[in-house]
Assembly symmetry: none
Amino acid sequence: MRVEVLAVGTELLLGQIVNTNGAEIGERLADAGFDHFHQTVVGDNLGRVAGAIRTAVARSDALIITGGIGPTQDDITREAICEAAGLEMRFSDEYADRLRAWWAARGREMPETNLQQAEYPDGAEMIDNPKGTAPGLRLRIGDCWVFALPGVPQEMLPMVDAGVIPFLLARAGDDTAVIRSRLLRTWGESESRIAQILADLFEDYDNPTVAFLASAGEIKVRLTARAADAAAAEALIAPVEAEVRRRLGTLVFGADEQVIEAIVLDLCRDRGWSLATAESATGGLVGARITSVPGASEVFRGGVVSYATAVKESLLGVDAAVVEEAGVVSEEVALAMADGGAAALGADVCIAVTGSAGPDDLERPAGTMIVAVRTPEEARALTLRLPGDRERVRTYATTAALHLCRLAVAGEWWGR
Amino acid sequence: MRVEVLAVGTELLLGQIVNTNGAEIGERLADAGFDHFHQTVVGDNLGRVAGAIRTAVARSDALIITGGIGPTQDDITREAICEAAGLEMRFSDEYADRLRAWWAARGREMPETNLQQAEYPDGAEMIDNPKGTAPGLRLRIGDCWVFALPGVPQEMLPMVDAGVIPFLLARAGDDTAVIRSRLLRTWGESESRIAQILADLFEDYDNPTVAFLASAGEIKVRLTARAADAAAAEALIAPVEAEVRRRLGTLVFGADEQVIEAIVLDLCRDRGWSLATAESATGGLVGARITSVPGASEVFRGGVVSYATAVKESLLGVDAAVVEEAGVVSEEVALAMADGGAAALGADVCIAVTGSAGPDDLERPAGTMIVAVRTPEEARALTLRLPGDRERVRTYATTAALHLCRLAVAGEWWGR
């Protein structure tokens, strides 16, 4: 079954709000096994909304429209449905009474414009909206089921879950497959290098398919299989996943929802080691990532943000002579910060970051970031040269610091 | 001039990433005064991408395509352009050399698949990509200018700013009205309360229009005017802006691109005060926000992330008896952290945060977050009860901490 999504709202086109509904509905359609090939956004314009509805109903089995069914004059989805399908507008006395009762229960008089929400294209069923006053609509146009839902995610998503997906699943027949994905998370190689390592593998497969997603230096490899049921989809993924893991080796650090900060905490916990941070150029980002994980306090003791050079010396005990000789942006200072952080925080492992985040150069060219990790077994530093602006450099350095800590705690030190 | 946007990527339809590019580009098109009536998303499917290109070029004066021009086998936008427009694919030896040089400069061998990025539909110009290796493309299909750009926002948006908007503006002619916006940033009241304070004002105006945008506790009021030129649009905005500022008073903390962390640094600099942080539940987020501002080092000395209680005592000198009596999640401890942070870091002003971020309750219900600020003049704490999950609670508390510091440094202490 082919389902598409139409978002109505000038505010989306003006960029005043981000269309998160598209991703939320898309995820639900994928989980249900529906094909989802098109998403469209149009503004609050009768002709363009009607035109988008005509295009969609001609090529899809179901259309989910979000937005444009509220009480104000720019809410025109009902009219556009009438225009696209050649339907008359009807008025529901029953729903008008429900609207009046909703307002009365809150001790307020209903603005008359709200009665617009009791209108419906001839033949449409109303869909209950437990979180708001605008009911949804469901009707058949040609061979396509059309749903009109509110644009507010908190109202719309429960209606998709309760009123749309089950309705469509019941009518989907045998052509509906289940889609399952496995996300393998990697760090340490470029997207193109990973793609090259795996290229020939996907000449042999179109089920599962492969996609590559890059974010902050991590490359995610997503395998997506389609089958009659979940077990069959998983069975298609398993041998391909095994081969991908075999080829990528330790580049793969986690799967699905496993983030690097949680993996670092788990590895430390397994070895009975406590963790600390000593950050300069990243200014607290590494600590913030680590403490985003619930229960981090079992392992993480805290950190020092030693932004001023004097703080590196006073709180981390970095020797002023080392700063003088090697410079603040040096592996020597990073290593001294890692040692000093472990001592100051009473931790076994310490991640230290110093560097020149930009836009101006600080001692060394902007983008030069240095990470050191110290464990009870060993200490090592690595100098990174990162492209991009200040935000990107800091984000990539933070991710790199967490990955280097993972390698260090696992005893897989770099540069050997 | 009518411009539309086509996003290519199966990951968008599967809901694996949110299409923030649509809003970012939409904002830029509105600022430039272009009409923007349609946005479309399709997956990595040759026929559907080509079909979407054909539809767009038939109804618009310009089409911006994002995504699908990377180095991997699922990047098919170049092919789809050739198919939609009946063009042959060419190969640029010059760009291939540039790609090889880019990799060589990083001391690595280029994967052969990257040469795909040196391909281009016959007649297309390459657009420089300063942040990455995939060049953009620009070509004319029928009466429509077509741009193909990377999907990664950090690469794509600078190319829109430098290579797309100015190019189109130069060809737009007289039909383009200018749109100008003023963003007033507020903190301290809900969106509905702000809307209520301003409601009657916008019964009298439809140019400028008003929109409300909420993010992490800040409410942004956007005034948007359309006029023949920038000066006329600004003149429409000015009296309405003045009235909005009069009504909202100190709720307004900044305008347009002014972020709270930069304002805090400016206020401290004006008073000749240095700044430090002492963070528990936010784990470094406040320091990370402050150091996101270039030049923060003139004011910001650093911070202590005192996640473990023992670190609050050892590095911040918080009295163990106070912790014992009042609990870690208390205004007493927050104030002691602020004093201790100022002393340890040698700073005039210190922002301290402690709390129970969730999901589990820590001493007090999850969402209870306590901020203290200490200046050379005074010290005060405030207890916040924040809704939402751990990430949201930490983000909102970070924003609140920065705002409370702004008020403190400006001498406008809360609770008086």
